[in-house]
Amino acid sequence: VKTATDKAGEPRTTSGAGFDSLFDDCFESMKRLAFLLGADDPENIAQEAFVRLHARWATLTDEDRATAYLRRTVVNLSRSRLRHLRVVRRSPREPDRMAASAESLALGNQAVWDSLALLTPRQRQVLVLRYWLDLDQQAIADTLGVAVGTVKATTNQAMTVLRTALAKEEIR
């Protein structure tokens, strides 16, 4: 996942090349982040995150902060979207445009993917930020607005849930 640390020296303007290049570099990864967090409309969430970033562009002093702001916004938007969909058992099966193709499903580990659905939203966020975005614990804590200790504990809990679920799956 590309970050924008190499463009930190650009001047901040309300729009322009800096924002445009950040959009080009990060839009797809932010959309994927929303998808991995379980959002049903990742495109919309990524777009909304950039709209909000655009409004705050002049106040962000460097692109590291801009990227962190984007990540935080995507996580928060995904969480609130999931809250709206909390009665998911009642939701209809819409044509899933983001559904993986049969070929791509074969690429991934279906059991691991299914097990992610057993996690709480916070546990899933921690794992996605760590194992997909490769963020360190401090960056995860900053993104989620929690203490580093909470990140460690949540990671351990999440891994335990996954390990247990996968063990059950293998017994079957």
Binding site: G108, L127, Y131, W132
Partner: protein, 224 residues
Amino acid sequence: MNDRDDLEDRLRATLHDRAHTVPRSQRPRADLDVRLVRRDRRRPFLMVAAAAVVIGAVAVPVVVTHRDEPVRQTPAATPPPPKWVELTQVTENGVDEQVGLSVDPDDKGWCISVRTAGAKPAPNACYGVPVWGDEVVPSRYITAVGVLGPVQGGGSTGSMLFVTAPRVDSLVVLGKDGVAGEVREVLRRPGAVYFFVRFAEGPMTSVHATARDRKGEQVDSGNF
């Protein structure tokens, strides 16, 4: 390699593989520009609206004083939407539940909600009312969502809610083999019209909707 490392590797590989199943957007920058234009358009509108209130407060007494003409009544504000419009009823695991539509007081969003007898409605899924017929993107005047998926112990339903632009007067929805859905207009608001559509045959994988205005002219059509 120990179990922890193995699980971490599997997790990392799974997330990366899954992330790559998300198709690239066709024209994300154009979509962003549309959103930014909408946002910027709303701000001046709000300022103009605020200014209009101030001017109205000053100008009306002047008119009354100097012309001595009957004061024209300002049109009554649009009444707020009803808190709940029932769409259908279902029985799940022996429990009777009502499924309804609730629209935000500002008409900018709406939810499909579920409630049992005596309880407050619980929002199931919420959506924003779109900006209809935006001139930047190809005009679209219809959106649709399924209302209910399979109901545990209660069979399946083929219910959808269509939300259209206010200029839409009628809607025809056809399922597979051209079978027509039963269309009921449940609510008409300044920002949108809400149609409940039910297929007796059950859920449809794809339907085709055609919206017409009062004169019978086609406003929009599409597959959902």
